[in-house]
Structures are given as structure tokens and as C-alpha cells.
Symmetry: C2
Subunit: 411 residues, 2 copies
Amino acid sequence: MKKLIVGQSGGPTSVINASLAGVYYEAKKRGFDKVYGMVNGIEGLLNEKIVDLDDYFLDKNNLELLKRTPSSFLGTCRFKMGSIKEHEETYEKVFKILDKQEIDSLIYIGGNDSMDTVESLSDYALLKKKKQNFIGVPKTIDNDLPITDHCPGFGSACKYIATTLREIIQDNNCYGDTKPTVAIVEIMGRHAGWLTSASALAKDETCEGVDAIYLPEIPFDLDTFVEETKELLKKKSSITIAVSEGIKTEDDQFVCELTDSNLIVDSFGHKELAGCAEILAKLLKEKLNVKTRAITLSTLQRAAAHLASKNDLEEAFNCGRKGAELAYKNQSGKMVIMNRVSNDPYKIKYEVFDDIHKIANVEKKIPLEWIDVDNNYVKTELIDYLKPLIQGEVKQIYKDGLPQHINLNKK
Amino acid sequence: MKKLIVGQSGGPTSVINASLAGVYYEAKKRGFDKVYGMVNGIEGLLNEKIVDLDDYFLDKNNLELLKRTPSSFLGTCRFKMGSIKEHEETYEKVFKILDKQEIDSLIYIGGNDSMDTVESLSDYALLKKKKQNFIGVPKTIDNDLPITDHCPGFGSACKYIATTLREIIQDNNCYGDTKPTVAIVEIMGRHAGWLTSASALAKDETCEGVDAIYLPEIPFDLDTFVEETKELLKKKSSITIAVSEGIKTEDDQFVCELTDSNLIVDSFGHKELAGCAEILAKLLKEKLNVKTRAITLSTLQRAAAHLASKNDLEEAFNCGRKGAELAYKNQSGKMVIMNRVSNDPYKIKYEVFDDIHKIANVEKKIPLEWIDVDNNYVKTELIDYLKPLIQGEVKQIYKDGLPQHINLNKK
């Protein structure tokens, strides 16, 4: 009897469940007798919240639904194992439960923090000569994991952002010269601007694209921003600007946390109340006397499975499969990575990265040479990197006009 | 030579261009020699900003793209003709331009204000024995036009809202019992709750749906809201609440305009900065010490053509066609309406409403008997009314992973 358990951790994405589907599919194919899911990650495992995935996915239709269901089917957590020295009892508890269930392999689908968990557990197993192996499968909309070319989840978020921006640009243009308008669109990514850079994809021969992109990699100056927008408004009446939620001033303050005391705009209000798009929209309205609109893409950019990228969904599935393959081969402390063998035609090889220590807790930012600082835009290299990730559409399963999902509490 | 001019007015929708496509298609079919478009509505017409639609749409592929392009292809305006008595020179100018271009018929696609324009111009034509006729084609995401069963544009917005809410509910559930979370989703509709009520459509056997719906038709009380959410949190850990941007307190104050002086939450900040979802999220966080998230659907709900309802798009097209038919028949001062002949099977008849005075400037709200006040929800009658409007998916035209649109400045 060979048994595997899989969990999901960290913020959800549109395709994290496709990785779960991939793990299940490959594990069954390889002959694992049981494929369990831990509910709410390691935190749930510690409470023995375990389900048998056969109960849901022996029916192949359900596996197809799973691929199209956003968020984490198994639930997620933000749980840190902590150091072995200080938290040995937690480690022992995990292994006690794994032993009790006779589990051989644990696969964890997640981002930086989750890879930290995979690393800690595999280190502990090595140290204490436990039989279990531990494999990490990457996911994050933020695309901030190092080593892997990109992360499953990122491409679908990019597709959502670019599509939505096209629609916003169309909408924003509707008053033409009769009413100058600035739309500021706030995009996720606290420390890395990958998602915000995807706004550049909106542009093609039928769409003028966004007029400026402000990334957290480049210090943000409020006065310069006002001046730059003023210049843009001299050339055209409808402006769309993409900003990362994580833009910071030269002295390392998040724009979204600026308050009255910074004297930028009177009565900003509580810093938790407004996002940076709202703050900047207000600023422009006051300084340039122009109609502004703040749009925050919020949760939608990580949950819009109805707009998933086919490439991204397939890669998420394949990363899950690769994870199960590694587990089957008794590898441990390793993460599945994607290696872009060629860009045109786009070709990905699924590989293994041995030294998970180099992945956990490292944030990959946009290389500065891919940013066009002078024009508040991104360079062709970055657009070429992003383009393949949004290709292809996933055929949705609609019922009564709405996409269908699958839920843990409804078998 | 028979000539027609068409314009778009008011806030755009996902399918207002499908109505434009319908006008063009039918007008050409009926033998109009010229079909012009006015750029930015009557405001543009007054500046003789006129285009020949043949330049764009003799190519049938472009007509298909037009149907799938959100916002107003011709641009829009918010221009009021004003009373004939006070603005006779504006009226004369309009007719002078129409005469100069030898235009016989004017079709205006829009909401309440636009119907006011149609009414005024047709009254003036009658009064001054002008030869032109004027026809209104309805559009509005708000669904607040009277007489017609519903408005083109509304169904697609409902489909977007329900789909997005399903995805938000999935996302919101991901922490399970480990972290109680309340998501507050703010939906458009300043005076009528139609759009917000569409949040009820998210619920089916695979989705638990939203937990409460707050409509502008019912006075909103902040303390009661906190208490009601507290009760919901006793039953489940992940709560999703739909609120209309237009909810008002008993003393007729918009919640989104409440400020410090109302002593609800300290340091709300400037009333223009935050929407009501943000205010309510902050309130719940302070009073119930729970994780909250404010999501504002904003422009996206009226521009998300990629999620257009097939029924809605076809109805928008047919309303446009009917408008051109009426113009051809020299009718004037009339609006196209939709009459729901039966609900199951869903069947719409396109009819004419003679007395446009009864449409212009009247706002249709949700009938109170369709609202379940005790449970902060809507009744089955309302759900039955909404359901047919979101049925069917529109096959999008994708290129390089993104939906294609057509623009006035790019033939």
C-alpha cells in the first residue's frame, strides 16, 4: 500500500486546483493506493482533517470541474512550522499523524512560505530518519518564486488583468475629448511588479493600451506622478494608468499608507481605508482638476477562473503531475520547476530543483533591465516573457448561464 | 436617398454596441442609403462630428467585433437639450445640421436622460413641422427604465456579477474555520437595487451563494447590520455580503457619504475617498474583530464584454433592429420596449411604446414585494425574473490570448 497526501497553502489562485487535479491524476496512474487531501494545509493536518480524494474524483467529470474551480479546493492556511529546535513537538505531531495514516509522500502546493514548510519537513525527516518524502509544487499569482521560469497561477492572473484593462480602456474612452478622464487601476503585488507589468499586454493594433505603468521596483514620487500625468493629458483626453499596490516612495513608505501628516492630500482618512489607486485618484483630481476613477482589481485577479489561461492551467496540471512522479520516485526536499526551453515556439520542460533552501523565502523581482523607467513602461523583453503565459482559453462548464465549480462540502 | 443617423448616450454597457450593430444591420437591410454615426452623442452632432458607418461595417467581421466591444463605439455624452423655450437655438442647430446632411431619422441608444432627448427633439419636430423622426432604443445596466420588461445591458451585468460572486465566495472560503472572514462586495445602482439583486443568482446546488443582500430600496441601519453579520458568523466562518452603492440610512443619507461627524467609525476620512463597502468592512472589523475584505466591482460590471450574456446581446441587437424598422416606418417620439410574453420558455416580443413622456426621467425600482426584508435577501419572483437574462455565452473572438475589440479611430 502506497499512500500520498496533498495540501494547498498560501493565497489561492485560479488554477491551484488544476495542480491538485494533476497530483491526483498522476498519483492514481502511478499506482498510489490512497491519495488523501489535508483540509486547510498543515494546520488542518495537525488536527487530522483529512479527506480521501477518491470520494470526489473517481468521477472524471468532477476532476474537470476541479480544474476550473478557483481558490483552494482543500482550503488553505498560513502556517509556519518554525524552527526544529523550538517546535520539535509540532514536527513530531505531523510525523505521528503521517505514520498513523501510513502515508509515504506529502506534496505541498504553494508559494514561498509553503516551500519553507516542505524544506523544514524534509530536513526533519532526514535528521530523524523518517521514511516520508516531501515535494513542493509551485503556485503564486505574484510570480515571485526564484529558480522556476514562472509560477502556475501567474499566467491566468495576467490574462485577467490584460483583458480587464482592455475593457476599462474602452470604457474610459467613451467621453472622448468632451471630458478628460484618468482611470487608475490598482493591481496586486506588494513587493514585485510582475502582475502590474501584465497591464502592458493590453496593447495591440486595436487597443492603445495603458498610458503608464508604476511598479514597486522603482521608487515612486508623488509630484513627478502628477507632472507625468499632466503631460499625458496634453496628448490625449483619456488616460489609463496601472499601479502596483506596492509602490513606495524614495524613503520606503508605501503610497497606500500615506496619511494626513504627509501633507499630500488633506484628510486622506485612515490608512487602512483607501488603497493607493484611491489616494492617487484623489491627488490628481485636486491637482489637475480632472475626472478620475480608481479601480482596484482586488480578489478578482486571483479568482477569475472563468478567464483562466489554457497554457497556465495545463502547466499547473503538469506541475502537479510532476510532483506526484517525484513522490513516486521517493525524492524529497525538492520542488517542481518550469524551464522555458524556447519562447517561439513556446516550450516548457518540467524539471526538479534539488536545493529547496534556495527557493524558500526568496522573492524574485522584475529585473531592472526589463523596466523602461523613463517612460513608466516595460521593455519588449518583459512583454515577450509574458505573452506565452496568457495564450489559449479554457472551455468553461456552464450551467444556467454560470460557470460550475466543485466544493469540498458537496460531493 | 434615405438617411439615418444613430448615436449613443449615457453610461456605456457591455452590449450597447450590439444595439448599434442592430441599427446598422436593419437600416441597411431596409434600404437606407446612408447610416451615419454621431460621435459623442448630441454633443458631437452639434459640432458636426459625424462618421459614415459603411467605412467600418461593410466588412461583416467588423460588425461581429462591434457586438463584442464594450463601451460606446461612437462615444457618449451626458448632454441635456433643455426646454425648448430656453434653448431654441440649440434645437434649431440640431435640425440645421440634420437638414444639411439630409438626414430623415435619428436613433438614440440610451437610458432615461437619452429618452428625454428623443422626446424633446420629436416634440420640437412636431411643433415646427420638421420632417425628421426620432426613435429611442433602451440601454442601461441599472435596469431602471419603466415600461420595458428590462433593459439591454442589464443581463450581461447580472451575469458578470453572479459569476464574479461565485469566484469571490470560493476565494473567501479558503481559510475555512481557521480564520472567519467577511467579504463585502459593492455593486452599482445608486437608486435601484436591480444589479445588486443579481448577486442572488450565484447560489445553486454547488455554490452556497451570498449570505445577505442590502438594497437601496430598504433603509439601512448600521447597528442592525453589525448585529446581523454577527449572527451570520455564528453559523459559518466565511461570509459574503452584497451591498448596493446606493444604500441609505433611514434619514436618507448615503452610507458612502457618512463621515466622522456621524461617529460611526473614527477617522473615516474624506467622504469621496471610500465607497460604502470599505466603510462597512472597516466598521465590522472594529466592532466584531473579524477579517474583512471590501471589493468594489466598479467599471468592470458594465464593461466586461468577455462575460456578456448571449440572451442580452441578442436582445440588444434586436432592439437596435426594431429601432431601425420604426425609423424606416417614419414613426417618431417612440421607444423600443421588450415585452416578456412568457418566462418558461423565455420569450420576448419587441414592441413600441408610444408615449415616451412616460419613460423619460422615471426610475423603476425593485417592487417591494420581491424583497425579503426579514432575511436581507430577495424573493423567488425576483430570481425567476432575473434568470433568463443571464443565459447563454457569447463566443468571443480571441487573438493572442485576449478578446478583440473595434475602435472608431482604427478602421
